[in-house]
């Protein structure tokens, strides 16, 4: 093997190392399950999102139809504003669809479940989902339960 090939391969080796470092570092942006095109965005505000994270799935009847794109705080109402990216194939969601934060099993992570309503009009890009239900915080429930048990 001549000198040029060796140098070329060594260069490729170093580049591969840097690329691996980038992959590890930028995994934070990661693989995009729902890329920009082919989706439309909806927002929904919640009192409490519990442990919901960016890129958590959005499910309709248990089937994944999108993912959480961003989570911000509305400075006026102090509610959490969640931006959802929905597959554009699901473009016939009624305007009175409700969004609930649910948990996969007892220890699982949070996701957003959509429950469609009965309206004739459909949600469009950048619309707001008006009806929302916050995350169920298990600790609060246990606290309330203990409180009510002690009162008796």
């Amino acid at each position: 093997m001549n000198n040029k090939t060796v140098e070329l391969l060594v260069g490729a080796f170093i580049i591969a190392g840097i690329a691996a470092l980038l992959v590890l570092a930028l995994k934070v942006s990661g693989l995009n399950y729902y890329p920009g095109q082919g989706t439309y965005q909806l927002t929904a505000s919640f009192d409490n999102i519990g442990g919901l994270k960016v890129r958590a799935p959005v499910r309709l009847a248990g089937v994944q139809v999108g993912e959480v794109r961003a989570i911000t705080i509305d400075p006026k109402t102090f509610k959490a504003v969640v931006t959802l990216a929905i597959d554009s194939k699901q473009n016939q969601l009624p305007v009175d669809t409700s969004a609930n934060i649910q948990t996969e099993g007892l220890l699982g992570s949070n996701f957003i479940g959509l429950a469609p309503g009965y309206a004739e009009d459909f949600l469009k890009d950048n619309d707001r989902i008006e009806i929302t239900h916050s995350a169920l915080i298990l600790e609060n429930l246990i606290g309330q339960f203990l409180y009510s048990v002690n009162k008796k």
Partner: protein, 260 residues
């Protein structure tokens, strides 16, 4: 009784002497006038034989280890309905432990043993001595490029191992076991910190690379110049390097999980 005490004493003195000699040898390799222009081609050649030729075994091992961790993790986590945490389990165990340690063990077996045998043969056939006769310093010409090549390629190999293992695991988890892709990656990204996990993994692999290459090069340079001495040196190189890596791994992990 006296005899056994004496032999114990001799063994400890010999051990101390060889540790001291290897330390002196290391300082001679490390602290010398850099002649970058002339040593660079030698370094590139060694990077090829130490780094690139180790790539196939690292890639295959990484792929299968990532896949196995995903499979095992899913099997257990699914019992608690917590298979969404699989990404976190896979990434943390690979980046913190399996990546640096398995790469180091493979590197000791693949590159360390080859270096020891190569240098040992050079010594046995008196190539090193004849270099000295020609006023070429074998430490500069033979040892130093191999040392630096090992030190550079070990972290790169570990990084490649990490990336391949995580992608192998994600392939099994998402495409085969049906874990949701979004939760898999988002849980992983929430749990893995760049400085805490990835950088400390790189530090680990640097330390391991240093120890492995030091052991390998020293064992080769110090071997008894016979066929039997060479084979012993090669075995010792792999065994010592692996044991030191496993021991150091515990110490480094204790330091990193502590308030370091």
């Amino acid at each position: 009784m006296i005899k056994q005490l004496q032999s114990l004493g001799r063994i400890s003195i010999d051990t101390c002497i060889s540790i001291g000699r290897s330390g002196l040898f290391l300082t001679q390799v490390l602290f010398r006038k850099p002649r970058i222009r002339r040593s660079f081609p030698l370094l590139v050649q060694e990077l090829f034989s130490v780094g690139i030729l180790s790539l196939p075994i690292i890639l295959v091992a990484a792929l299968f280890i990532g896949m196995v961790v995903a499979l095992q993790g899913h099997n257990t986590l699914a019992k608690f309905g917590a298979d969404a945490q699989l990404g976190q389990l896979l990434a943390l165990s690979v980046v913190r432990e399996l990546g640096p340690v398995v790469t180091a063990l493979l590197f000791a077996g693949r590159a360390g043993s080859a270096l020891t045998a190569e240098i040992g043969l050079m010594k046995t056939t008196e190539q090193l001595a004849s270099m000295e006769m020609m006023a070429v310093d074998p430490l500069w010409r033979v040892i130093a490029p191999r040392f630096w090549a090992g030190l550079i390629s070990m972290p790169i190999l570990a990084l490649i191992f990490n990336a391949v293992a995580i992608y192998g695991g994600s392939w099994v988890a998402i495409d085969w076991l049906g874990v949701t892709g979004g939760t898999f990656w988002s849980n992983m990204q929430a749990a893995v910190g760049f400085r805490v996990d990835i950088i400390s993994g790189i530090i680990k692999s640097l330390v391991f690379g240093f120890v492995i290459i030091w052991t390998a090069v020293y064992q080769g340079y110090d071997c008894v110049p016979t066929a039997e001495g060479m084979s012993r040196a090669t075995t010792r190189s792999v065994v010592y390097a692996s044991l030191i890596v496993l021991g150091l791994d515990f110490v480094l992990t204790a330091m990193m999980l502590g308030d370091w």
